[in-house]
Amino acid sequence: MSDIREVELARDLLAGKEEAFDRFVETFRSKIFRYSFMMCGHREDAEEVSQETLLKVFESFDQLREPERVKAWVFRIAKNACLMKRRKSVFAPSQELSLDQFLPASDQDGGHRKLQIADWSELPDTQVLRAELRDVLSRAIAGLPEIYRGVILLRDVEELSTEETAAALDVSLEVVKTRLHRARLAIRQELDEYLR
């Protein structure tokens, strides 16, 4: 679900309250930029997508029927604005990810099966990401094929619900769930390699 403050903001916008304008720009511009930057791969494109998306939002907010779904509505417009850029992605080519490629190998250790994965306890448990770890994560997301990248950005970075993500991307709930899981497994694998 959209954050309650975002829903109130959408209601204020629909009510025509002048003060909602600046708050809406402040709240959504950075979200749209972050998503667009990771989808387009170019800072200038992301700045343009942010402006084009907000322009479309303000031109058509009277068409927002359900303020509770404002986030999905905004990201749907952003997704289409990204597609309109039509610049070939600088990131990974489009391809399907299979579950099997993420199954970790295991070996026997004194009669017990042990996974061949890194020691994740070494990851710092802090609220703020270290720059190095942030780069690893950003590169891992950038390396995902576009159909997976869009889902993980909306579900796990922007924290839209499965329903909101499906609405924003115009796909079914099952497609969101399948793509999200494979994207997470790919990110997990990249982090695992970083930790070794």
Binding site: F58, S60, D62, H112, L115, L129, V157, E159, L191
Partner: protein, 95 residues
């Protein structure tokens, strides 16, 4: 890979069977019975505990990425363009 159909009541025989369901498990989007079966398997399977924990940590880290790249300041001309669109729409909507 064979994945158990949800709600059959059959316990998971091995780790591969629940591998495809782990994100839905973490997101609490599975039927309660299937969640319970996964929990029961994981309780007796240290490799699954390790893997599920690493997947959970990955998702936690992704949530923290929200504080990342930020746009530059919004130029006044761009803000004015947006404000004009807002006012035009408001006037039409509330006319």
């Amino acid at each position: 890979m064979s994945v158990m159909e949800p709600e059959t009541g059959k316990p998971f025989q091995d780790c591969k069977e629940l591998f495809a369901l782990l994100s839905e498990y973490l997101d609490e989007e599975l039927p309660p019975g299937t969640c319970e079966q996964i929990r029961a398997h994981i309780a007796g399977c240290p490799p699954c505990v390790e893997f599920v924990n690493s997947l959970r940590r990955s998702v936690d880290l992704l949530h923290k990425l929200r504080t990342g790249e930020a746009p530059g300041p919004l130029p006044e001309a761009a803000r004015d363009e947006l404000r004009r669109a807002f006012r035009r729409n408001r006037e039409g909507f509330h006319a």
